[in-house]
Subunit: 264 residues, 2 copies
């Protein structure tokens, strides 16, 4: 759910649905694992299981990229890795800056998943002068004053914000002004950006809150109706990401707590 972008999927022939784009990295990871095990080809069924999705969905996703499979056989692993990488733009080098080198920023700087996917941490930036020069993940922390020059000098177009909420918008503005057009925001704030700038938000506490909701619902169901629709036998469905279809649905309230009292 990127905020920020408001216009058409544009590219008519190349109109890959957003939902599909979001799954491509998933496929890529599964394919990379297969590649390392020197598996030459893989069927949509196998790959779908490995990625935790439905096989029909996977085939349709791939169909947006082109016809890269062979009927009766499956997909060539290496070829598909290349195609998806290219589609995602991972065949080129993406310099990124991380702003806000606290616990989270340091964790991000050390995160192996970046470098291995074409992302190169161009610089770590922090507002604290005491941090300046201190090495984190092998890079010296730079002061915020240098933000603009770092971005222009390195041609950075992707910025990661890991600052406290209060500083996020200001940092965002400076990043955008300096030329950044994609932002990954870890600060718990709604960033406002001009047209043409993409923002993706990752909010750790929101994820937990969503889990708490479902957890509460599960706890409530035990006490009321043990009657569970018990969707078709699905022995060990891998994923469970996002609405697993057979999951909740016919819920029924936990228990009848209907307090009409206003605490205010």
């Amino acid at each position: 759910m990127a905020t920020g972008r408001t216009h058409r999927p544009a590219t008519r022939s190349r109109g890959i649905p957003e939902a599909t784009v979001a799954r491509l990295p998933l496929y890529l990871r599964a394919l990379t694992a297969l590649s390392e095990r020197s598996v030459p080809t893989v069927s949509s069924e196998e790959l779908a299981t490995a990625a935790g999705v439905n096989s029909a969905k996977l085939r349709k996703d791939f169909s947006y990229l082109g016809s890269y499979g062979t009927r009766g056989v499956g997909y060539d692993v290496e070829y598909l890795v290349y195609q998806i990488s290219r589609e995602l733009g991972l065949t080129q080098d993406w310099p990124v800056v991380i702003v806000g080198i606290g616990n989270l920023g340091a964790a991000l700087a050390n995160y192996g998943g970046f470098a291995s996917r074409g992302f190169r941490v161009a610089a770590l930036i922090d507002a604290d002068p005491a941090m300046a020069g201190k090495p984190v993940a092998g890079l010296p922390v730079r002061h915020t004053d240098e933000l603009e020059s770092i971005i222009t000098d390195n041609g950075v177009s992707i910025g990661v914000i890991a600052t406290p909420a209060g500083a996020a918008q200001q940092v965002c503005d400076r990043l955008v002004a300096a030329g950044v057009t994609s932002i990954l925001n870890f600060a718990p704030t709604v960033l406002s950006v001009p047209e043409g700038v993409d923002v993706r938000k990752v909010d750790l506490s929101i994820e937990l809150q969503i889990l708490a909701f479902h957890e509460q619902r599960k706890a409530g169901e035990e006490t009321t109706s043990a009657q569970e629709p018990a969707a078709a036998a699905q022995p060990r469905s891998g994923a469970a990401v996002r609405t697993p279809a057979g999951g909740r649905a016919a819920g029924k309230g936990p228990d009848g707590d209907v307090p009409a009292v206003m605490p205010a």
Copy 2:
């Protein structure tokens, strides 16, 4: 309109759409900020702006919770904070364990967004004996051996996995076996869990990859029309394959290597 059997119970059937649940924390955050500023009431339009969503969507979301607004006035901030908190299950205490105290685990342990929302870090767990006892975020790190007892003793039902990918499934199995029914997974792996266990995944590199996709497309749009190599270019099986450490020279351009290693 809700899902499931349409009785017409005076109490609303709890068929809250998943998309709505995912936005409730967003509203809650905006409302909390208003509450701290002692704002008594807020209109759907104002709150929607603060939360970064459409006002109609916000009203519809709230309608699933009940009619908590006053026409012509808006919503009572305090009351709404309470209602959403209750709906999300944040009015109770949720003990959580964090497994894998690396950079990310430590960042999570220090993350303020947890404690302030009803989540209490019951324990930090790591497999490294050298970490045991070492204080992180004010808590002593416990060894993995204690995992089961910690969970049962504290009644933990939510677990956070911040281990390397290789250990994630094993940790997950142990968490589930010990009674955890909700898992927030930061490891880049598809976890397989039995029916009834919720898994939410946060993948830092996937978010960046999605940004890269849009970034690449933006860059391509500038030059107007796709200079994209029409799909036919690549020979089926032979070529494509990873160019070991190929050029990438000029930075831009659809060639270069393919990431060979999974992120740790």
